[in-house]
Subunit: 193 residues, 4 copies
Amino acid sequence: MLATAVGRPRDAEIDAAVLRTTVDLLETTGYLQLTIAKIAARAGTTKPAIYRRWPTKAHLVHEAVFPAQDFEDLPEGRDLRADVRTLVALGVQLLARPAARAALPGLLAESAADGALAAEVLGQAAGGTFEWLQGRLDAGIAAGNVRPDVTTAAVFELVAGAAFVATATRPADAIDERWIDQMVDLIVRGIAP
Amino acid sequence: MLATAVGRPRDAEIDAAVLRTTVDLLETTGYLQLTIAKIAARAGTTKPAIYRRWPTKAHLVHEAVFPAQDFEDLPEGRDLRADVRTLVALGVQLLARPAARAALPGLLAESAADGALAAEVLGQAAGGTFEWLQGRLDAGIAAGNVRPDVTTAAVFELVAGAAFVATATRPADAIDERWIDQMVDLIVRGIAP
Amino acid sequence: MLATAVGRPRDAEIDAAVLRTTVDLLETTGYLQLTIAKIAARAGTTKPAIYRRWPTKAHLVHEAVFPAQDFEDLPEGRDLRADVRTLVALGVQLLARPAARAALPGLLAESAADGALAAEVLGQAAGGTFEWLQGRLDAGIAAGNVRPDVTTAAVFELVAGAAFVATATRPADAIDERWIDQMVDLIVRGIAP
Amino acid sequence: MLATAVGRPRDAEIDAAVLRTTVDLLETTGYLQLTIAKIAARAGTTKPAIYRRWPTKAHLVHEAVFPAQDFEDLPEGRDLRADVRTLVALGVQLLARPAARAALPGLLAESAADGALAAEVLGQAAGGTFEWLQGRLDAGIAAGNVRPDVTTAAVFELVAGAAFVATATRPADAIDERWIDQMVDLIVRGIAP
DNA sequence: TGATAAGCGAGACGGTACGTCCGGTCTTGAG
DNA sequence: CTCAAGACCGGACGTACCGTCTCGCTTATCA
C-alpha cells in the first residue's frame, strides 16, 4: 500500500466512503450477499477503484470491520479479575458489533482456504492481545492467583471462543454486563490455584 | 426425505456418492470454493439430482459433515469431571475433523443470512447436547460439585467456543488428550463452588 | 405396431385423442415448442402412453399431420394440363394446412439427422405420387405434349418446391386458385416441346 | 453489432471461432442436436460469450451459414437464359453446401414460431435477389422474351423451391451442371410467350 | 512546461456457477 | 401387457455476477 511518487494520487474520500459503505452493507445484507459491485455503487465509485485498494472482499471487510487501532489500547494490568474482565469485555466489544457478527464467519471461511489471509486476520487479533494476556497471567502466577500450569493459549481460547459462540447464538442484547460477569467468574475460578 | 410410494425411487448410490464427494472436496478446496457443479461432476451425477435432495449447498454440507446420528450417543452421566470430559471430547471430535474445520465457518456465514438454516444447524448441535449438559450440571449442583448460579448456556459456550477457536487456530495435532485435560480442568474448577 | 395377443389391449381412444391434440397444438404452438408432455396433458393421458405408441415426436407428428391415406387417391390421368393441376393442387392441399405448415420444417430438420425418418417422410410423399407423375409424363411424351428429355424428378421438384416455398413465405389466403393456375401454366409450358 | 466506444472491446477471435465451429458442428450433428453449450466448448469459449453476440441459436446459425455478403454480388443482367441460370446457380450454391442443408429446415422451423426471425431470414434472401429478378424479368418482357403476366414471386418460388427440394432429397453430387441446365430450360420455356 | 504515470468513472468482456426446464425412462399399484 | 400417476436422471438452458480490461479524461510528479 506504499504510495508511489508519480501519477495521480488516490482519492482518500473513496477509501473512507468504501469502508463506511462496507460496514453498512455488512449489517444489512451479510457477508456472503455482500458484493464489490454493490459496495461500489452505494459508495458512489466503481469496482476497479476498489480492487485497486484491496485485493479481495475479505481484505476489504477485514480492514473495515477490524481496523488495526482497535487492538492497540489495552490498559495497564491491575488485579487479576479486572484484567480478565478487560479481556472478556474486549472480546465482546469486538465481536458483538453487528458488522463484526456478520463479518467474522465469512472471514473465517475465506481464511480456511487462504493461509495468508488467515495469518493476517488471526495475527492481528492475537498480536498485542496474546502478549498482554501472557504478561497478566505471569503476574498472576507470581502473585499466587493463577496456577503455574495454566497456558495463555487455553485461556485465550476460552475467552475468545465464549465470546464468539455467544455472538453467534444469542441475541445481541443478551450479551450484557451480567453475561460478562458470569464469564469472568468462571475463568478466574478456573485458573485459580 | 420421506419415501413417497408413487414414482421412481431415488438412487441411494447417488446420495452416498454425493455425501462422500462433498466431504472430500470440502477438505480439498474449502467451503467457499465448493460448488454444486463440481460435486456433481466428481460424484458422477448431475446438478439436478443434487438439488432434488438438498435445497442449498449449506444443507448438503451440513448433512455430509454433521450427520444426525453423531449427536445421539451421549453416555449416561458418571462423575462431573468425566461428564465435562465427555462434552469437551465430543466438541473436539466433531469440530477437529478436516471436513468440519472447512465446513463450519461457511455454515455459520450462511446461517447469518438464513435464520431457518441457523436454527437447523444450531438446533442439531444444541438438541440433545444442551439438555444432557443441563442434566449433568443439575446433578452436580445436587451433589455439591457445581455452584447453583452456573448457567448451562455459559458452560456450553465455553466448551464449544474453546473447541472452535482451537480448531480454527491450532494445527490438528495440537488438539490432543493433553489439550482436553487442560480444558476440562479449567471448566471443572470454574464451575466448582 | 402389431397387437400382441396377451395382456391388456391398448385403448384406441388414446390413439385418437393424441393425434387430434397433436394437430391442435401444432397449429397453436408450432413444432419446436410442441412437447410430448403438453400433448399428454391436453389429451388427458400420460407421457409413457404416448411413447409406447410412437418412438419420437417426429413420428407422432408425421402420422398426425400426414396420414397415409392422404396420398392414395390420385385420379386417373386425363389431359396433361389437368394432370399437372392435380399434382399442384395436391401439393398445396397437403402443405398449406396450418398443421402442415407448422410441422413440415420441423420434420425436415429431424430428418436431416435421422436417415430412417427421412426415408419414411419422403418415401410416403414420393411413394405413389412419383410413379403416378411418371406415368402421366410418359403419356404426355407419347402424345407429343412433353419433351422426351424432361425428367420426372425435375418436375416433381418444381411442383413440390414451389408449393413448399409458397406456404413458407406467403400468407395462407394468397395460395388460391389463381396461384395454382399460374403455376400450372408455368410448368405445362416448361415441359412442352 | 455496433462497436461501442466505451468498455472492453470484443475478442474477434471468439467471433471467428464460434462461427467456424457452428458450421462444423452443423455438418456433423445437424441443427436440432446443435447446442450452444457444445459450440462454446468446442470453440474454446463459453456460453455467455456466445449469447452476448447472438440472441438465439437461430441467429447464430443464420450468420454462420448465410453471411450477408453472399447475397450481394449478383452480376449485371445479360440475356434472359444467362440471368435465369445465375439465379438457379445462386440458389444451388447457397443451399447445397452441407451446412446449409443442415441449417435451413431448422431455421424455417424456428421462423414458424418467430416472425421477426422469419423476416430476417427471408428478408436477406429476398433482399437484393428479388429486386434483381424483377429487373431481369421486366427487361425480358420489354425484349419480348417473357410473358407480361408472369409474376416475379412465382418464378422465385419455382427456382428457390426446386433448389430446396433437390438439396433435401438428392445426394449432393446429383446437383450438378446438368441439373442446373435442366432447370433453366424448364423455367425459361415456362416464362416464354 | 511538457512528458510521464497513475487514478478515475463508465461500462463491456470473458468465464464460472447458478438454479431450472424438460425429454425420455422407470416404478408402483390397479385392471 | 396396459393404464394413470408421478418421481427420477441428466443434458441443456439462459442468467447473474465476479474480477479484468479498455477507453477517454483528470491530476499529480519529474525532467
